[in-house]
């Protein structure tokens, strides 16, 4: 019964996306269609068996007890009775099991698919999307669907079958009784629909208040220093009290709804039951139906009326499930990035000669971020990019791994258009160290080897860690390289994260490097170490460095000064220094700083 890990029947998600809602749902459980039919079938047999129990009881009373046919007939009857009940039990079990298989299996497949799909959506999509929203769709919406398939969809089928079968049985006993007994059913259905709809709303309001209360609590706990510092405990208690009392109030309201619905619907159902039973009893006394019939009828009637109450809830739940489904298909419709399409795949990697040929780029129409960019560099050279925020330098480097594609012009890598390489290949050749690197909740070792597709020896890991000036820090942790980073582990400082990211990049051994050399928010000693690590990293690699320090620029082979998407100056340090322009101004500021510092020191010595 336990399914093999990672294997399940395939499902063509394209069908899911392109059809109408109900058909889409059907496609979503492809591979489980037989299970689903089975679940419905067994729900039917369970209903039949149950009805059979009631009918048999009536038969038993009429044909055996009243006609005094005792003896072996009794034992036979007992066995048949037990068999019917066991049959009902077995059918219920099968129905439940098959529905669970369908629900659990299909949603597990959906979850895996969504995980993969989301991570392959384009950069452009992810910069617009909200994490919380995506997460909710991939988790709680999927869970709503799971419950839909496991419980609600089958439940509706089951109740309908029970209703039809029991009504038929009653009809066969006496058509007039059947007519009388269904009068109340539409009323119950409507009442329960109305109730559950209203309940949904009230419950949403209750949950909203719960969220308010949780936020209140969380802020209070995380701001405990502020609360104590201003001695605001009394105020906080009052504030919480207000929210707490409101939750109580809403809960009481919700409770009142329940307290009214159940007895009132009980009364309505009971009214029907009493009336029908009474009429049936009269019929039995008058001989229109037999005693056994009456007994059977009493049993059947219960199953006819009471389950309809639940139907209201199931219908409301179904409409919610459809909403969740829509939200999921909206994501499924977004196309993924293609990673592997290539017309050029050099065996030994690339050298790293890059040139930009009249490259323009924009994220949205008519808002160009890069305009007519032209330059070229040879393998192993350092290109420094300068310019204010929004000047285009960050966008330029995003084009290299093809996170985005150029709008016009072309980029050449080793003389071949960048678009001819696959994204996967390019990214294997490019290493990136960001300003604020993202590390995963995993061991330090796992984080360093994150970009590797095969096993890496501990020696190799330590080697790159040493080059990145992080080895000593890691060794100082109790668990060394197995130390967990992130929420469940240690929190690394900004400087430490940068060095892990540098080690990570070193291990990949890329031909092309994209760097942000900002080392703000680290202390002096760490800054020196990071510089050294970066220097190791940049050896023999074509490097694009988004510069914040004059030192890194001075040694660059090519400096590009950006303004509003255009390169306004380019050349080496010496060349640019002799041209009047932005670069000169920048360098001049640097000299001013040096002088100011010297002055400062001198001032003190004089005192």
């Amino acid at each position: 019964m336990a399914q093999k890990a990672h294997t399940y029947p395939p499902c063509d998600m394209q069908c899911v996306i392109s059809s109408k809602p109900l058909i889409s749902l059907w496609h979503l459980i492809s591979g489980f269609h037989w299970q689903y039919f089975g679940a419905t079938f067994f729900a039917g047999t369970a209903a039949l068996a149950r009805t059979g129990v009631n009918l048999f009881l009536g038969y038993f009373i009429d044909q055996i007890l009243i006609k005094r046919q005792y003896g072996t007939k009794l034992i036979e009857a007992a066995l048949i009775f037990a068999a019917l009940i066991a049959g009902q039990a077995f059918s219920s079990f099968m129905s439940g099991k098959l529905a669970a298989q369908t629900g659990e299996g299909s949603t597990r497949r959906l979850r895996d698919y969504l995980f993969n799909h989301i991570q392959r959506l384009s950069f452009a999509y992810h910069s617009e999307a909200k994490t919380g929203d995506l997460l909710e769709r991939a988790t709680s919406d999927v869970d709503t669907l799971r419950r839909f398939f496991s419980d609600q969809a089958i439940g509706i089928g089951r109740i309908t079958l029970i209703f039809i079968i029991n009504l038929t049985a009653i009809y066969r006993i006496n058509p007039r009784l059947a007519g009388i007994s269904v009068v109340i059913v539409p009323v119950i259905l409507v009442v329960s629909l109305l109730f559950f709809k209203q309940l949904s709303k009230s419950y949403a309001s209750y949950q909203e208040q719960e969220a308010v209360l949780t936020t209140n609590l969380q802020e209070n706990l995380s701001g405990v220093r502020v609360v104590k510092a201003f001695a605001r405990q009394g105020y906080e208690i009052d504030k919480f009290e207000g929210n707490n009392a409101e939750k109580l109030r809403r809960g009481e309201k919700l409770n009142m709804m329940h307290a009214l619905f159940w007895p009132i619907s009980d009364l309505i159902c009971a009214a029907q039951q009493i009336t029908s039973s009474f009429i049936a009893a009269l019929m039995a006394i008058d001989g229109v139906i037999t005693v056994g019939n009456f007994i059977a009828f009493a049993g059947l009637l219960g199953w006819l009326i009471w389950p309809v109450r639940n139907l209201g809830r199931l219908i409301v739940d179904t409409s919610r499930a459809l909403v969740s489904f829509k939200r999921i298909t909206n994501i499924l419709k977004v196309p993924e990035e293609n990673l592997f399409i290539a017309s050029c795949q050099p065996e030994n990697g690339v050298k790293g000669d890059i040139s930009f040929d009249h490259v323009s780029f924009e994220y949205e129409k008519n808002h160009p971020v890069l305009q007519d960019v032209n330059f070229s560099c040879k393998a192993g050279q350092v290109v420094a990019l300068l310019g204010s925020t929004g000047s285009g330098k960050t966008s330029l480097v995003k084009l290299l791994p093809r996170f985005y594609d150029v709008t016009s012009g072309r980029i050449l890598l080793d003389g071949v258009n960048l678009n001819e390489y696959s994204r996967d290949f390019l990214r294997s050749q490019i290493g990136i160290v960001e300003q604020e690197p993202f590390l995963f909740s995993a061991s330090i070792r796992d984080n360093i080897t994150y970009g590797m597709k095969h096993e890496v020896s501990q020696a190799k890991v330590e080697e790159v860690a040493r080059d990145a000036a992080i080895h000593d820090v890691v060794e100082s942790f109790t668990n060394g390289y197995d130390t967990l980073v992130g929420e469940r582990g240690v929190t690394l400082s900004g400087g430490q994260k940068q060095r892990v990211a540098i080690a990570r990049a070193l291990l990949i051994n890329p031909r092309i490097l994209i760097l942000d050399d900002s080392t703000s928010s680290v202390d002096m000693e760490t800054e020196v170490q990071i510089r050294a690590a970066l220097e190791n990293l940049m050896k023999d690699r074509t490097t694009f460095i988004i510069a914040h320090r004059i030192q890194s620029i001075m040694d660059a082979d090519l400096i590009l000064v950006f303004d509003q998407g255009r390169i306004i100056q380019s050349g080496t340090h010496a060349e640019l220094l002799s041209q009047p322009g932005a670069y000169q101004e920048i360098y001049e500021i640097q000299t001013r700083i040096d002088n100011a510092l010297q002055e400062e020191i001198d001032n003190v010595s004089l005192l």
């Binding site: 890990a5 994490t131 994150y450």
Partner: protein
Amino acid sequence: MSAYYDENELDDNVPLSGSLLHKLGGVIKPHWRTLLGGVLGIALVAVADAVFTYLHKEILDTAIIAGNKTVLWKLFEYYIALVVIQSIAVFLFVYFIGLQGERIRYDLRKKLFDHLQRLSLSYFSKTPLGWIMSRVTSDTEKMGDLLTWGIVDSTWASVNILFASIFMFIINWRLAILVVLSLPVMLFVAIKFRKRIYYHYRLSRKANSKMTASMNENITGVRVVKALRREEKNLENFKVLSSDMFNSSYRAAFLSALFLPTIQTISAFSLAMVLWQGGIMVENSFITIGGLQAFISYIMMILWPVQDLARVYAEMQNAVASSERVFSLLETIPSITDFPDTVEITSLLGDVDFQNVSFHYEDDEPVIRDLSFHVPQGNTVALVGPTGGGKTTIVNLLCRFYEPSEGVILVNGQDYQDFKLKDIQSRIGVVLQTPHLFSGTILENIRYGRLDATDAQIEEVAKLSGAHEFITSFEHGYQQDVGEGGNLLSVGQKQLISIARALLANPDIFVMDEATSSVDTLTEALIQKGMHQLMEGRTSFIIAHRLSTIKHADQIMVINAGRIEEQGTHETLMRVKGHYYNLYTHQFRQELETRLDPFNSKNNEDSRRN
């Protein structure tokens, strides 16, 4: 369902001890009326259920089979009355028990929250936030359920079984024994089942939270995933997690599907026996047809109370564990409280002295060793030095968030532990490194400094701190919503509000932990201005990162490894050419670079939101 979840919950196997029962009793006691109403209501419902079946027997025997319509009318009158009574009983029990549940949860949340306000900072430093949240949200839910539905469901089930058994004995004691004997078997099987189901259900919840965390991380770090080509590997890892979840979830569902049918099948044996033996008894007139039919009804319906009892029992363990956790939090004693003989003070103005102060957290290494210094009133002290050197601890000690392990801290010549905590903490104004705001309006946040301040006074301090300009630039001005934790404002704006708040409090001593994150020059200047307002004439302790703050301090202390490494004014320390000199020159260059912004890399950061 609460989002906060403690992974270790699965391993709890807490027995129901006498003292725990006593404490639980204490929680219910104020609500004894609703409890009574609920229990009576549900008992009535259960009795009515049993009576219905018996009434049916009577109808069958004395009215239908006997062919007596008069009796039929009378019996149906009883029937109607019983239905009405039961409906009222249902209303009563749902109403009372639901009410009780909400009220008990309200009580518990209130008690927990109020108690948390009394606990010391040390508790919060060593206890994860999620853990505490889980106590107040998820554990109180479970306790509420235990004390309401737990009691009600077990009452209903027991009364139901009891009365059904009584009626069965009344009808025919021999058959009754047959049925009653099968009950323990059913109950035993049911409990075992439910426990397994519950176990797998909780496993699946645990797996679910792991899976969600993985999904979350993958989405947050998607750029790195793409850059490092981790899509395939991450999917593989994820599939393991989703498999785990599937396995336990399916297992729980499978067992659930198997559960009732199994109990039903067991009862099928009783039914077969009853039918057979009962048929023989009808033959010998030991039991009427109605009686037999009633028996069959009772047996078929006993399924429900049996499985209810099993459910309550299976879930009880977990609920008991929750209760233990809640009580243990309520019983935690705050580590810093007022001493018995406190001295009343009206101000904290005066010289501040640390005399041979040492401090260590729990059993760790000492963070501060034998620290002594004297600060005349009104002086500004700048604390500098490497991370982890002890600066924050000194400030925490001053605010009496922690108390010295050795040595003494004097204010105006008197040991500050002689004063009430509230008196100390309400007279020290604090601005933290990462400013913490509460959801609400800007006005409410500033007012936190002094609750009885008028709007005009708030505006005044906002002007002094330099916050007024940006506040009035918002659509709703002072009524602008700051968002959860202040996330609708930028870091610089939060700092300015933080300063305004401290100004409003008009403290005697000012403590600040300067932010290291850079903001744009304009906001920077405003923050400086606001800080000077606060430092004016007040004894101030600043954990300083900005050179202008440090340079103009009356005293600078370089704190390293828990000791004062260097101490003096800016000029004297520069001449030493030691630790301070290095720090200063490095930072000077950095600050100038940021200010003169040669690369224009930080344009208008504050005009954007976080």
